[in-house]
């Protein structure tokens, strides 16, 4: 496997049933589950959205050529095997599995794959990002596809495997934008959708599963459940109460403060560890923080431990960790982390003095859509003010924040978070155009070899240089790692602790 990406990182995929049940039971076919989600997805076309909720639901309907195993290695899904890659790393020959059917009964062929990948290049954020590296996408017989790159681009397979802004395979005749028909090759198909009430998926009887053993998102996808219903429950307290009452087979994104309550309820609490990382992005293009020395002062002032404690309360839900990937991921490195979690306002004050800071307020954009963002921003404000910064905290709703952050004139820092994406090149900060607009020679010198190198071990070493540059140039401040809380019914077996939970291979046992 020339492009296998990551080594370890299996923690998120630990099977709940292995943790909780005394003996493995034979899976049973049948049953309907209700899954409480944080809301209604903005679309059912995962190509056009990077929202986690969209990916979580639609990964049951649509499939990609590749996916990730439990160790975050890229593994084939609709592709028969890993691609044959030319010596120069520019040509990917992909063989497709035979007998794969779409949910309208038609066969999947290379024609569908070529049309879908071209649509992906046109409409998906990640596809557009990749399009400049792709020279051509061509069919090679009915079950073969050839992708020719302009130059080697190692993240390609991860991009083809990801489940949001996803390179899903659609029938060549159903490539409308916006998507008119929801037809994929996945194990479950859309039966009914009542917005804000439910999305009903039923077993696709014509599904052709892989024959290899289930492994993370890869391998066989058994369709034990008859139906999966995604039910939007936007109020987090109501989701908690539903989990306690046992109304949902799975309840997603519960407030961590409710951990003790959930533990005492009918569903079992499930900690997704590690889930993601909160980060303050800095505006390197305009304003106060375009000065590197002032960004270094911010870095010196920040106290991650206090921020994480304020945001998550219990140490069960966070780790004070400056590495861009936690231990267990192949990308984990300590490079540059001595600059993390300094919490040293005196040093920050000195740096500010040297930088000639003129007292212009730092505008921090935050939102209460994610309460932990707000709490972290409050602690950051206290430390920054102690160091001598003036802070203008702007608390806005999420839609306003996403609009304002696109304009470099309107902000200096904003807080956001992300799950640990299996391929670092998928992270926003790697792109020069991402809000923050970090684009320096040192960054490019670190990233270019990383994205062109195809050897996984060499890539891991190269990523530590990328991490070092992020600490040296401070385009952002990673606060730490945090864990998420979900609840799962004790009757629902073989649900994996995944960042984007999936329910093929899960079954009900009374």
């Amino acid at each position: 496997m020339k492009h296998g990406l990551l080594g370890a990182g299996a923690l998120l995929f630990t099977s709940v049933s292995l943790l909780g049940s005394p003996a493995m039971a034979e899976p049973v076919k049948g049953g309907v589950i209700d899954v409480a989600t944080v809301g209604e997805p903005p679309t059912l076309d995962p190509m056009t959205s990077t929202a986690d909720l969209v990916g979580m639901i639609t990964q049951h309907i649509f499939e990609t050529l590749y996916t990730f195993d439990k160790d975050w290695n890229v593994v084939p899904l609709l592709a028969e095997a890993m691609p044959d890659i030319s010596q120069d790393g520019k040509i990917y020959a992909i063989k497709l599995r035979s007998g794969v059917k779409f949910q309208d009964g038609s066969d999947m062929t290379s024609k569908d794959v070529v049309a879908s990948l071209k649509r992906w290049e046109e409409v998906a954020s990640r596809g557009k990002q990749t399009a400049s590296d792709i020279q051509s996408i061509e069919a090679d017989g009915d079950l073969g596809v050839k992708i020719t790159l302009k130059q080697p681009y190692a993240p390609l397979l991860s991009l083809l495997a990801f489940n949001n802004s996803a390179a899903i395979i659609l029938p060549s005749d159903d490539q409308d934008m916006p998507l008119k028909k929801v037809i994929g090759t996945g194990p479950y198909m859309l039966k009914d959708r009542k917005p804000d009430q439910y999305i009903q998926l039923v077993r696709f009887d014509g599904y052709k599963s892989r024959s290899d053993a289930p492994n993370g998102y890869g391998g066989a996808r058994h369709q034990y459940l008859d139906e999966i219903r995604f039910v939007p429950v936007p109020d987090p307290n109501t989701r908690v109460q539903g989990a306690i009452a046992g109304q949902f087979a799975y309840a997603d994104s519960l407030p961590v403060e409710s951990y003790d309550q959930v533990k005492g309820g009918k569903d079992k609490a499930m900690i997704l560890k590690p889930f993601g990382w909160p980060v303050f992005m800095m505006n390197t293009k305009e304003g106060v923080l375009s000065n590197l020395q002032i960004r270094k002062a911010v870095q010196a002032a920040m106290n991650s431990e206090d921020m994480l404690l304020a945001a998550f309360g219990s140490k069960e839900f966070f780790t004070v960790d400056g590495s861009l990937y936690p231990e267990g991921f192949a990308w984990h490195s300590d490079a540059g982390t001595e600059a993390y979690n300094q919490g040293n306002p005196e040093k920050a004050a000195e740096l500010l003095k040297k930088a000639g800071y003129d007292g212009k307020p730092i505008r921090i954009l935050t939102s209460r859509q994610y309460e932990f963002h707000y709490k972290m921003a409050q602690v950051a404000q206290a430390y920054l003010e102690q160091a001598g910064f003036k802070v203008d905290m702007q608390v806005v709703d999420w839609a306003t924040l996403t609009q304002r952050r696109a304009d470099p004139k309107l902000w200096d820092m904003f807080i956001t978070h992300s799950p640990f994406l299996p391929e670092p090149a998928l992270n926003g900060y790697m792109q020069d155009s991402s809000p923050g607009w970090w684009a320096t020679d040192a960054k490019h010198a670190a990233i270019e070899p990383f994205v062109t190198e195809t050897d996984p071990k060499k890539r891991a070493a190269l990523f530590s240089k990328v991490q070092q540059v992020t600490f040296d140039e401070v385009p952002m401040y990673k606060v730490g790692d945090f864990n998420a809380l979900a609840a799962v019914s004790p009757e629902l077996k073989d649900v994996n602790q995944a960042s984007w939970p999936y329910f093929w291979n899960a079954y009900l046992q009374k």
Binding site: V32, D34, G39, E40, P42, T43, T48, S49, T50, A51, V54, S125, R126, K128, Q129, N164, S165, P178, K191, D192, K194, P195, D196, Q197, Y198, Q200, R229, V231, P232, V233, P234, D235, N237, T238, Q241, G242, I244, A245, Q247, G265, V396, D397, W398, A399, T400, T402, Q403, R404, A406, T416, S418, L426, G428, Q431, S433, S434, P435
Partner: protein
């Protein structure tokens, strides 16, 4: 009468025009971009700009306004950006839970408020009256979301009598859907009964001391008949007004209650639309609500004719 109705219709048109314009301006000056929300957190500025063009959001605001008003004249409230369906269809899909929630809530509120308010006025100054007055004040001060969560905790989680949230799944019967409405309806009924109790009590107190009540009693009429037939009928106009206003408020979406109970009603639709900046849905929903407000007020005015022959238009 005909002239009155004509004037009201003209008034409705003017009100709706003003509402449409004000809502259009407010949603456009509110920060936030539906394209950015739709594309998710990792979308690039170029993607967002592309989608804005596709959605017509890049057009000058006066042009968007003309399109919007032109659509309104044709009875077209526009197309939801997120749901990819006409706004009227989206509203229609959300109408059932909101409609029945409104009916049940107002019935519960009236069932509590009318007898309690009348009795409280009749026994003015008694312990009963003082308890009712205190409880009504307390009830009016309770936030509906808090009461809703308490109900969920007790009746759904502890006793398991009701689902914690939602409006039923695929294929659920009408009765099952109504079962989901019991808790939110009782929540809203209790909270809204407080206001109606106070109006009923005050209104009854106004009339119970009137000469015609004393005359009815002096003729030997039974107390029940005096209070329920003579006094209540004359006290009804302010009571009808407050019931009408409460109903209109509930139809406009018991926003917080619908969110807490996860009901897919008009209130939830508006909340989602505001969060996502789904401009056509916000505009369409508020316009329909304004129209319903006006219609309900008109219906109440007509009821005045029934309950009070002295009223004429």
């Amino acid at each position: 009468m005909a002239r009155y109705i004509l004037n009201r219709i003209i008034g409705v048109i003017v009100v709706l025009f003003i509402v449409a314009t004000v809502v259009f301006v407010i949603v456009r000056v509110t920060p936030g971009d539906p394209a950015a929300v739709m594309l998710g957190p990792d979308a690039t500025a170029a993607d967002i700009a592309d989608l804005r063009i596709r959605l017509g959001l890049n057009q000058p605001i006066p042009v968007q306004y003309l399109y919007f008003m032109g659509g309104l004249l044709r009875g077209d409230l526009g197309q939801s950006i997120f749901l990819n369906e006409p706004v009227l269809t989206a509203l229609g899909q959300r109408a059932e839970p909101t409609f029945f929630l409104t009916i049940f809530s107002i019935l519960i509120a009236c069932a509590i408020a009318l007898p309690v308010g009348i009795l409280s006025a009749y026994k003015r100054g008694s312990v009963f009256d003082q308890v009712v007055t205190t409880l009504a004040m307390l009830s009016a001060s309770i936030p509906s979301f808090w009461l809703g969560l308490v109900f969920i905790e007790f009746f759904a989680v502890k006793l398991g009598w009701f689902p914690t949230s939602g409006y039923g799944g695929p294929g659920d019967s009408f009765l099952s859907r109504m079962h989901h409405l019991v808790q939110p309806a009782v929540t809203l009924g209790l909270v809204n009964s407080a206001l109606i109790i106070r109006f009923v009590r005050a209104s009854m107190l106004d009339v119970l001391g009137d000469d015609y009540v004393r005359t009815a009693r002096s003729k030997g009429m039974g107390e029940a008949r005096v209070v329920l037939k003579h006094a209540l009928k004359n006290a009804l106009i302010p009571i009808l007004t407050v019931i009408g206003l409460t109903t209109a408020l509930l139809i406009s979406g018991a926003i917080v209650t619908e969110t807490v109970f996860g009901l897919p009603g008009v209130g939830s639709l508006i909340v989602s639309a505001v969060t996502r900046r789904d401009y056509p849905v916000i505009q369409g929903a508020l316009l329909v609500i304004a129209a319903l407000y006006v219609l309900i007020n008109f219906a109440i005015d007509m009821l005045y004719l029934v309950v009070d022959p002295r009223v004429s238009y």
